[in-house]
Amino acid sequence: MVGRAPAVTVKHREMRNERRGRQPLLPLLRPYLYLLPTFSFLFIFTHWPILRTFYVSFFKWNMATPKMEFVGLANYAQAWNASLFWEVLRNNLVFAAGTVPLTLALALALALLINQKIRGLAIYRALLFYPTMIPMAAAAMIWLWILTPNYGLLNYYGKWLGLPDVHWLGHSKLAIWALVMVGVWKRVGYYMVIYLAGLQVIPDYLYEAARIEGAGPWQRFWRVTFPLVSPTSFFVGVMAVIDAFQAIDQVYLMTGGGPGNATNLFIFYIYQNAFRFFDFGYGSAISAILFLILLGLTLLVFRTLHRKVHYA
């Protein structure tokens, strides 16, 4: 009996090996077959374009030079020396600096209000969230009408709020703030909902403990709520910055980048160079720059998401 035991094991192992040897090809290939459709599309429309954008950015390729011609870093040098490139970058930073903190602060405040157990919650939530559902193109139309000089609502009622009575979209300093206003209006409900998800995981006993310790509502916010939603704030903040760098519909439809180039943002600048001036080389170079900016921001989000998972 003692001697047989290893024999069984050996035989068992042989059987297993035999089975592995006989294993048909299909089960081995099955996962790859399942992934094939996704990865074919991903390769053609995501991976390849990224590599190719960087590749093309080293070539001169435009109307005058229809055959690609290697020029090294010339397109990047062109961007570096173009005052318009820096103006676009600055516009986009102003746009981000205008939209992001305002959207976040309002979204958090609204989420806190909605999170109170009050009547009519569903109605408030729907009214605050609906701009997320409509196309930016439609939002642009609505705001074009509201911002129209002479007949628009904003100039008439804006006086009550102390806003200047001007042609907003034709004003070189104010036009970008009109776009900021539209951006906040369109996105605040969405970020409110994300905050709501963050608020709902904060356990009630923390608030009760704070209350027992004698903390008022103000202190409870700064000592309990604010630190505990900070991962959400960070996530939402970076998402909002990325959003700000992707803004295009409202630029295209409301200002066309003007007056002058006062509202020319990154994607619109790419659009102009590639599809109006047909300069694919330079367009690719600025696309590559934008790609790197956004990639940096996104990696930041992914790293914090990782940390968030660890916390939980």
Partner: protein
């Protein structure tokens, strides 16, 4: 007790103020859409239409192939979703429940789609679509979205939650992987599909920039483009009542769907934020 009701009054007042700011623009365009063309040119805003009229809506139908745009939008949004459902189901299942060589690397390559802004590759995708002979077709609008990292990620979480024993029991009963997927895994993941579907349809219904780049004629253009192009024509940009009527016609159905299924939409968008 009194301070409690005082607090809830404050909350209501603040929320009401915020909700008004959000909703006044919508009310304003609805009212404008029913006004007569010249009624809007008054220095003091007149809220209610003096002679409510449907002419603006009829005018939109005359001024552009509205129903053609509508049909194109439906084909694009639902077409993308139909293909996405197939691609994300297979990929999510492989990532959730199969062991294979290179899985982690492939998963990261999938996540690249979440990490990059589609706008930053728009030039190259335009070139690709042109070379494939798809320029100015509905398929061109759909092409870059047929695989979805977000959808795959969402479904993978659901598929991971299905107990291994269930699959083993099914296998003992002679149920192969595909049958298990079809009859067990997919039905169990229906809420995930619904959430993904709502986000996907909304996104593609609303999209403007990519369709703008790859379409040239009314045969492939979507509603948002029809709206944008009309607004940039001479007669469109001066005719506020018609423009607002068209805006209303573009947003009416999605907005009604949202109001009816508010909870589902909001929960779905919540997940889209958490998923990337």
């Amino acid at each position: 007790m009194r301070s409690r009701s005082g607090w809830s009054l404050t909350v209501h007042a603040l929320l009401l103020a915020a909700a008004l700011m959000m909703v006044v623009p919508l009310v304003w365009i609805v009212l404008t859409a029913f006004k007569e063309r010249n009624e809007v040119f008054s220095q003091v805003p007149q809220w209610l239409p003096a002679h409510p009229t449907f002419n603006n809506f009829l005018g939109v139908l005359d001024a552009m192939p509205f129903w053609q745009y509508y049909w194109n939008t439906i084909v694009v949004a639902f077409g993308i979703l139909a293909i996405q459902v197939v691609t994300i189901t297979l990929a999510a299942y492989a990532f959730a429940r199969m062991q294979f060589w290179g899985r982690d690397v492939l998963f990261i390559l999938l996540l690249v789609q979440l990490m990059i802004a589609p706008q930053s590759t728009v030039i190259q995708n335009y070139i690709t679509v042109t070379r494939l002979g798809l320029l100015d077709t509905k398929l061109a609008i759909m092409a870059p979205y047929l695989a979805s990292a977000f959808g795959t990620f969402l479904l993978r979480q659901t598929f991971k939650g299905i107990p291994k024993e269930l699959e083993e029991a099914a296998a003992l009963d002679g149920c192969g992987t595909l049958r298990f997927l079809l009859y067990v895994a997919i039905p169990l993941a229906l809420p995930g599909y619904l959430a993904f579907g709502l986000v996907s349809i909304t996104y593609h219904w609303n999209e403007f920039f990519w369709p703008l780049v790859v379409t040239e004629t009314t045969g492939s253009r979507t509603l948002t483009l029809g709206l944008g192009i009309f607004a940039q024509t001479a007669e469109g940009s001066a005719d506020w009542t018609m423009l607002m009527a068209m805006t209303l016609m573009v947003i009416a159905v999605p907005l009604a769907a949202f109001l009816l299924f508010q909870r589902r939409f909001i929960n779905s968008f919540m997940q889209s934020g958490l998923g990337g």
